[in-house]
Symmetry: C2
Subunit: 297 residues, 2 copies
């Protein structure tokens, strides 16, 4: 019997937490302060949206859940590193993240810099050290995929494009370009790496799954913009209204809030259309998508 989404998700959130807790260097391991900061920045935080997507895609491809846990953790480490660096004074200069002081506030800037650096390294270390596919060549391709999604032509590139355009009004295609890189690339990688932990899906199916992941990645960002425009800092667990204050282009600033909400629904519809073709095996992907679109924080 299929368990309900909430208990499915919380089981996987616990699995990720347990795995990361065991794999991150212990707090008494030298250099102590760096390892404390790494654990502080990664553990006990966030909704683990990317890991949930990896797990859901892993279920679609009937992958070994132990393997998917490693992949999900690696993606979360990349996400975590990007948050630590994005919050730094030279970037977004944010003081609150997941309801706690940001890493450079709790520790210091130099430690935050090295923390982000080391979290990124650990992501690749994880992907290389465990068996994630029956085929080592596939595993190399998975590492390549995470790197492409994270680097200057993926997540970091989207961040740079964002910085280059602060205070400038973007067109909708430019905004989409930015988000396809800044958040979309890593979300796609989460889905695809989860699926690649087995070799059940064929090339055509993987392509469909990739299209689904693109829709979800964009929807995630549209919803993020809507929430930032609407929510209070207390609900959000990070400083709200920063986008408008920083004069950052968002889906809300370009489309208005009503149109932005409609776009999120349209993207969910497109994503669901793809999943429809996978039938019942895609139930978790459908539920995670719904969770992403309907979330309140």
């Amino acid at each position: 019997m299929t368990t309900d989404f909430q208990s499915w998700a919380s089981q996987r959130q616990i699995a990720i937490e347990t795995f990361l807790n065991a794999r991150l260097p212990a707090v008494d391991c030298v250099p102590v302060r760096l390892h404390q900061a790494m654990r502080y920045s990664i553990l006990d935080g966030g909704k683990r949206v990317r890991p949930l997507l990896a797990f859901a895609a892993g279920e679609l491809s009937q992958a070994d859940e132990t393997r998917v846990t490693v992949v999900a953790a690696a993606v979360e480490l990349i996400h975590g590193y990007s948050l630590v660096h994005d919050d730094m004074p030279c970037m977004d200069n944010d003081v609150l993240r997941r309801g706690k002081p940001t890493c450079h506030v709790e520790f210091d800037e130099a430690t935050a810099l090295l923390t982000g650096d080391s979290l990124q390294t650990l992501a690749f270390e994880l992907l290389a050290e465990r068996k994630l596919s029956d085929n080592a060549e596939t595993q190399l391709a998975m590492i390549k995929q995470l790197a492409s999604a994270s680097g200057s032509r993926g997540m970091a590139g989207g961040q740079a494009f964002d910085l280059d355009n602060v205070g400038r009004m973007l067109t909708l295609p430019e905004l989409e370009f930015m988000h396809i890189h800044k958040t979309g690339a890593l979300i796609r990688a989460a889905v695809m790496l989860g699926a690649h932990c087995s070799n059940v899906l064929n090339a055509a199916q993987l392509e469909k799954l990739d299209h689904f992941a693109k829709c979800v990645g964009l929807a995630f960002q549209v919803v993020d913009d809507v929430l930032d425009a609407e929510a209070s800092t207390a609900t959000l667990g990070k400083t709200a209204g920063k986008d408008a204050e920083n004069n950052k282009p968002t889906y809300v600033s370009i489309l208005g809030i009503r149109e932005a909400r409609a776009l999120a629904e349209k993207l969910q519809y497109d994503a669901d259309q793809v999943l429809h073709e996978f039938g019942e095996a895609a139930i978790r992907l459908r539920q995670v998508t719904d969770f992403i679109i309907k979330r309140k924080f």
Copy 2:
């Protein structure tokens, strides 16, 4: 006939430059500023000591030079990322590197942050995207090795240990601990990854080579400290005398300059002893070691 060291080295320096120039995203590739900064920070710079060690180890193991070039480039990208981040105001706050303004001075801090991040990512992307070993499992082990050498228990960890101890006098074992991580780990990785591009060496030989690499890594740092204490900024191409000014513990501050020089010679002797067992095949490793110890900048 064996060509002389200088022409051997400059051929390999050109090979690395050519490879990196082709592989780094073009300057007109969006985000333009980030890609300019990545190229600025990596191209046309440095002695390429780590790549030369990788090439020399590759010759010892009769590895395909195309493969070694990729490995050498990946190690250099990790080294380059660490320099960009170390130079930032929240770390060493240095304005000069390789005779040019540092990345955050030439561009800005946010770009320097993303540049370091993206150079690291590109290192792992490189190691995953090309065939570097006849055995894909070995290639995964090589990626694991570079990650371990770079992360919180390797290079970044050494940097954190350094920061934690600025202004404090270290004991010699503590200083050694710091450098084994901060510079030694990546130098070891350069040697071992170069050798792993073929499977000619057996486990005992690889272990000896690793011991050699440890000696060279430490020697490199001892010489660095001596040069920093002696040289002028013009000769060094980076701000000289920073260590003393920052009250940083160095081999010179702990041992004095004469003893520090003697230690470098002792380490070279140990390294040469290991190489002796490899005979003529180790000629390039012997020459690169000599180059590292005898360099004037």
